[in-house]
């Protein structure tokens, strides 16, 4: 073959895989309102930045007639590219090739791009659309999954890992996304479960649709497996692009700063905060009043809504926010909200993102169901995560900070660098009613009018303890600040704390209560 012939032979081979399969894929995927693997990568990455590898990889199985089957790319596209100028490694499973099933060659392509991401120190994005293990390949297919899970775990906390569920993701396959940092789902497209509706029906007699069992809404609202929910694939890709700009490329770097900007004109914090401490408000309004451009990028918006987590920028620098949400369940900590908060704190700590904690909670949620669900061990996660975190930790106590909730929400005692309280703060072991009933039990019971006496004692306790000044007198908070000065104060802390260096004692790893 001449040089020219060799080049044209290469083009023909490439065309066979790239163009022919794309045409077939488009006709198959569009029936379900889904994009093809190739279209997804192109929609997500900056135009013209995608570079594909392992185009000619083929499977080597000859059992069950597989030797006669040609599976282009073995059902997965892998490569590197850029998102808003940020480098990423990416793979996308192709459902139109043997149902996106995972065989050994398919898995090896994925593990190769994962190794790249680890070695190069850049984020990994996995687009999942697969029927599961390729049964014809037997244990080789399981080996493939295992090798992916192993790398997910090794890479955890080293590079950010993002999973996008754009089709079915069932059985063992769901554990790769579960091991990654952020899971994106799309309404009516994403489905995740360990066992499908068919099996549940035959085994347990419980009837449920695929959507009700493991659809996007279920994962985003009920199970908490998903972090971002979108109505369409395009909206999902916009969310991923935004996330990538907020986080660092790896655990040795800080997030890239943006240009500093002011919050938008709007209600001031003192205007948002109700007069009465028992009236709820949306804590996200407070966060927006502090953030550059009032832009708050919320994570797990629909699950465990009593705690709010997400990213903001302050003078262009990324800050992770954890805030109690008085609007939902009075902002209490419970099994799910502790879990949600703790995981986010650990992500921020691993990737050098300072933490801002906004406190307003009456404590942990009482109840038999909570105790049986293990609120002790789940609640301990948030204490562990805050204590372990060595990034800059800043806390603002807005209103209620009672009991265990006060300690848990990044108090000085868990290693907060800066703790401020608004004059509206109430820092005490418990709320005035409960406390007065215990401390003044005798006085109340022996009074001629117990109800009257109870009110007097509650007021007495409120005046004495339901304020930030007892804690300030002990030096547990660094200062009482006016709510509208919060942004300025936090900006100063970020500047002063830029080079914070605290190290945990040397150990193999901790043993958090999970």
């Amino acid at each position: 073959m001449s040089l020219k012939q060799k080049i044209s032979d290469f083009f023909n081979r490439k065309k066979e895989i790239v163009e022919k399969t794309e045409i077939e894929a488009q006709s198959k995927q569009s029936k379900y309102g889904k994009m093809t693997a190739r279209q997804r990568i192109e929609a997500l990455l900056d135009p013209g930045t995608f570079h594909e590898y392992d185009l000619f990889v083929e499977h080597t199985t000859d059992e069950f007639g597989m030797d006669k089957k040609f599976l282009p790319r073995d059902g997965v596209i892998t490569g590197t590219g850029e998102i808003m100028g940020y480098p990423v490694c990416i793979y996308a499973q192709d459902f139109t090739v043997a149902g996106g099933s995972l065989g050994l060659a398919h898995a090896r392509k994925i593990t190769k791009i994962m190794d790249h991401a680890m070695n190069l120190g850049i984020p990994l994005i996995g687009i999942n659309d697969s029927g599961g293990a390729r049964i014809q390949e037997g244990v080789n297919s399981l080996a493939g999954y295992g090798e992916i899970f192993y790398r997910n775990t090794r890479a955890s906390g080293v590079i950010p890992q993002i999973s996008v569920i754009l089709g079915p993701c069932a059985g063992g396959a769901v554990y790769s996304p579960a091991l990654t940092d952020f899971v994106f789902v799309v309404d009516k497209v994403s489905k995740m479960f360990i066992t499908g509706p068919e099996v549940i029906k035959t085994v347990l007699g419980e009837e449920i649709s695929m959507e009700d069992l493991g659809g996007a809404r279920v994962q985003a609202e009920i199970s908490g497996n998903a972090h971002f929910f979108a109505e369409s694939e395009f909206e999902c890709f916009e969310q991923i692009k935004k996330l990538v700009t907020f986080i660092s490329w790896n655990n040795r770097k800080k997030p890239e700063p943006m240009l500093p900007a002011q919050p938008l004109e709007g209600r001031t914090i003192t205007e948002i905060l109700p007069n009465d401490n028992t009236e709820p408000y949306d804590v996200r309004d407070i966060i927006k009043a502090i953030a550059d451009k009032s832009d708050f990028f919320e994570v797990q918006e629909y699950w465990a809504k009593n705690i709010v987590i997400g990213f903001i920028r302050m003078n262009g620098e990324t800050v992770g926010v954890v805030a109690n949400q008085p609007l939902v369940l009075a902002g209490v900590l419970d099994v799910d909200s502790s879990d949600k908060g703790a995981r986010f704190i650990r992500f921020c700590d691993a990737f050098n993102i300072p933490l801002l904690t906004l406190v307003d909670l009456p404590g942990y949620l009482p109840g038999v169901d909570q105790e049986y669900a293990g609120v002790i061990r789940h609640g301990a996660k948030i204490l562990y995560a805050y204590s372990e975190a060595t990034v800059l930790k800043m806390t603002v106590i807005m209103r209620k900070a009672y009991g265990g909730g006060y300690i848990a929400m990044c108090s000085r005692h868990l290693g907060a660098d800066f703790v401020f309280a608004w004059p509206t703060a109430e820092i005490a072991v418990m709320g005035p009613e409960g406390a007065a009933n215990i401390i003044f039990k005798k006085e109340i019971e022996s009074a001629p009018n117990p109800e009257e006496m109870r009110k007097i004692k509650v007021q007495e306790y409120t005046d004495k303890f339901a304020n930030p000044f007892k804690a300030a007198a002990n030096g547990y908070i660094d200062g009482v600040i006016i709510p509208d000065e919060t942004r300025e104060q936090i900006l100063h802390c970020l500047l002063i704390g830029k080079n914070k260096k605290v190290e945990n004692p040397e150990k193999k790893h901790g043993i958090p209560p999970f």
Partner: protein, 105 residues
């Protein structure tokens, strides 16, 4: 092992003889929540009712105040509709998951 815990489990079409855990036996069937009934998400006391039977409500409109955990929680309409029934009265003490209001189209 206690006899009453004996049972069978089917995984991938294969039947396994085994013992159940008490938790497994006592598990409640999962009810996909009825979108037309608003239930208390937290135990508390009804401190305000803003709607009555037959009222037309829009999504996000406050329906009730449920005081719990030192907070006057507002319960909002999950969607547009008409109030079919207000099940609770002012100062009622309600348990978790107790129905409060029924909405219809």
């Amino acid at each position: 092992m206690e006899e009453d815990l004996k049972g069978k489990i089917i995984v991938d079409d294969t039947v396994y003889e085994t013992y159940y855990t008490r938790k497994y036996i006592n598990r409640k069937p999962i009810n996909i929540s009825d979108p037309n009934t608003i239930v208390a998400v937290i135990p508390g006391v009804i401190k305000g009712i803003f709607v009555k039977k037959g009222d037309r409500v829009t999504k996000g409109q406050p329906l009730l105040i449920l005081e719990a955990m030192k907070m006057k929680n507002r319960i909002f309409a999950p969607r547009n509709g008409i109030i079919e029934e207000v099940i609770v009265n002012i100062d009622d003490r309600v348990a978790k998951d107790q129905p409060l209001i029924k909405i219809t189209d």
